[in-house]
């Protein structure tokens, strides 16, 4: 890997050439930033990957079953595995999706599962992202550039090729296409992940569309062509549920497709991922995922959650209050690394304020034991340093569920910091899966 790492600056120049950026709003102003790449890859052995792969497929299959259930017969609630109130009070649970079956019964076609590895080598799931998970494009393009810089690295190491993500994604979209073209629907150029939207459109051969390019007539979706309009069979939307259809969700949304939900309800278009998936990737619902695996699949969960407490339950609330200082407190209403605080890092006044917030509205919060997750080496001009890193793995559900043999490894900007989100200034690495 030394040869590859010596090209770090050149690879970053190449990433700048291809406009590999993410957008960030600060004080109401949009700025695009390059996403720093570190050439020292995270390496996962074939055996370790096989274990992760099985656990990830199991987890995503259970989450899909959960979504099908909670928008259908709600058996998991009737059987007392997940409290009714807990599901219905989730902000991601959409009443307009009750009784609505997506094409082929698939809700989460592209799932981004965030994992961390402890210093002892154990993997933990930190978060499930079943709405609009982003990030696959970064290791995808980085791998292609790394291969150019240091072909010997790839000749001498048995690294599973990750460049098939575009065709995997296309198969997933084609699988549920209801007749017509595939479209990637973006909120536009000023979205944080716009690079990815346009890059994946190119990789999958889909049409990149924005509000105004699509319209609904007689419960069919059409792409507004110059010479003729074309029917749309599948929409890989990169926009949140609330902005998707102003006639169903936020009426003030000007970046959605009016009446797209009526076409979806009529079974004339697939929406990827399905609206309403927030019911299953809520930070609070996360607690129940191992139980879902047992309930729906009759198997023990292969992947473990980080030890988590729900202040919603009185026993857990008492534990959280007694051990507040040593827990991570997460606001279920926040995303992107925001709303995550290590109570030990707070001054006593701020900690007390947060305690009161948890006491007042326990449903909004979860608490987790701190997983002392592993640090990976990061190459800097002055020498290699260690940084906390997580791994987002992409699980795709088409004819069957499979895991993309790669992933986005994100590392934190500062030593000791466990917040790795790009919006917080972190960088990324490629993830190598070894073939044996």
């Amino acid at each position: 890997m030394e040869s590859l790492v010596s090209h770090t600056a050149r690879i970053n120049d190449q990433l700048a050439r291809y406009g590999v950026k993410f957008g960030i709003y600060k004080n109401g102003v949009f700025n695009e930033r390059l996403f720093p790449f570190d050439a020292i890859a995270r390496v996962i052995s074939a055996d370790e990957w096989r274990g992760l792969e099985r656990g990830l497929i199991q987890r995503v299959d259970a989450l899909n079953a959960f979504l099908k259930d909670v928008y259908g017969p709600q058996e998991i609630i009737h059987d007392g595995v997940v409290p009714e109130d807990f599901v219905l009070s989730s902000p991601g649970y959409l009443a307009s999706c009750i009784g609505l079956m997506p094409p082929k019964g698939i809700y989460s076609h592209i799932s981004g599962i965030d994992l961390v590895q402890s210093r002892e080598g154990e993997w933990f799931v930190l978060e499930d992202n079943l709405r609009v998970p982003s990030g696959a494009s970064y290791p995808l393009i980085a791998r292609a550039l790394c291969r150019r810089c240091s072909p010997d690295t790839y000749r001498q190491n048995d690294i599973v090729d990750n460049r098939g993500y575009g065709s995997m994604l296309r198969e997933v979209v084609d699988n549920v296409n209801c007749g017509g073209i595939n479209v990637i629907f973006t909120p536009g150029r000023y979205n944080a992940a716009y690079f990815e939207h346009s890059f994946l459109a190119e990789q999958t051969g889909a049409v990149l569309a924005e509000a105004g390019d699509l319209y609904v007539e007689n419960e069919y979706v059409y792409y507004r062509g110059f010479e003729k309009d074309q029917r749309v069979g599948a929409i890989y939307r990169r926009i949140s549920d609330e902005y998707l259809d102003p006639t169903t969700f936020l009426p003030e949304s000007v970046i959605g497709i009016p009446n797209v939900m009526s076409a979806y309800r009529a079974g004339n278009v697939a929406i990827i991922n399905a609206p309403g998936n927030g019911a299953a990737d809520d930070k609070g619902i996360y607690y129940f995922v191992p139980k879902m695996v047992e309930y729906y699949l009759g198997e023990k969960a292969l992947l473990q959650n980080a030890p988590t407490y729900l202040p919603f339950y009185p026993d857990d609330l008492a534990y959280v209050m007694d051990n507040f200082e040593r827990l991570v407190i997460k606001d279920t209403a926040e995303a992107g690394g925001y709303g995550v605080v290590f109570a030990s890092n707070m001054d006593s006044e701020a900690r007390e304020e947060l305690r009161q917030k948890v006491l007042t509205n326990p449903r909004r919060w979860i608490a987790q034991e701190i997983v002392d997750f592993t640090e990976l080496p990061v190459h800097l001009a002055e020498g290699d340093v260690l940084r906390k890193a997580d791994l987002r793995v992409f699980v795709l559900t088409g004819h069957e569920t499979s895991v993309w043999p790669s992933g986005l490894t994100r590392y934190s900007r500062e030593a000791g910091n466990a917040i790795v989100n790009s919006s917080q200034g972190g960088g990324f690495k490629d993830t190598w899966i070894l073939s044996h």
């Binding site: 150029r189 459109a201 792409y223 010479e227």
Partner: protein, 225 residues
Amino acid sequence: MDSIALSKLDRLFWLGRYIERTLIEIDIMQDAYDQSIDGPAFDYVEFCQRLEIPNAYEGVDDFIKKFLFDRKDPYSVISNLNYAYDNAIVLRESISSAALSYIQMAVNIMEAAAKGVAPMLELQSVTDMLYAFRSCSDDSILDMDSRYTLKCGYSVERIDMYVRLGHHLENLRREFSRLNHRMQCTPLRRDGEKLMLLLGLAPNPDPENNRKILLECIEGLFVDV
């Protein structure tokens, strides 16, 4: 892709126009810069009048600096290049990542040139990247409607700038001929009256006397963009 959206054709057309404008303006500014060393001062006041942009400059040196690199000046070369980028960035799947990367590099070099010690030298690299884009996109844009719409943008801007600035007038007739071929291959609709006028003037455009009518016709030739 069976049918491209009007919004994309519009962006392709304007992408072509802004790239061409940037190339022509860099060419002119390199001459102006050279002239400012030991020749008669570049007549930037007349240049602004011909281009119909406000003269907000305090002298020829101020003009050269700001017209090239001032991001706040909506008529500057860097602004035109950024407008090209704004159109290109939303066309990745139509023009390809490979072609888009040349515009990204032109933007990166232009930004570096604005802070550099030998900006004129670096502007040559901006020009190189934009020509590389033209060549790459000609190969990578498979859809004929898209390819020729982009090329119509090049031709329209070239004719517009030639007429406005009296620049490279010897190439004007050739550019009319190119445009005539290119517009047969784009789905964009033409204004029949303006087209007839242009075709009538093409053999002997005489831009000094026909400036107004030529500019009206070329600017309004395509009704969709």
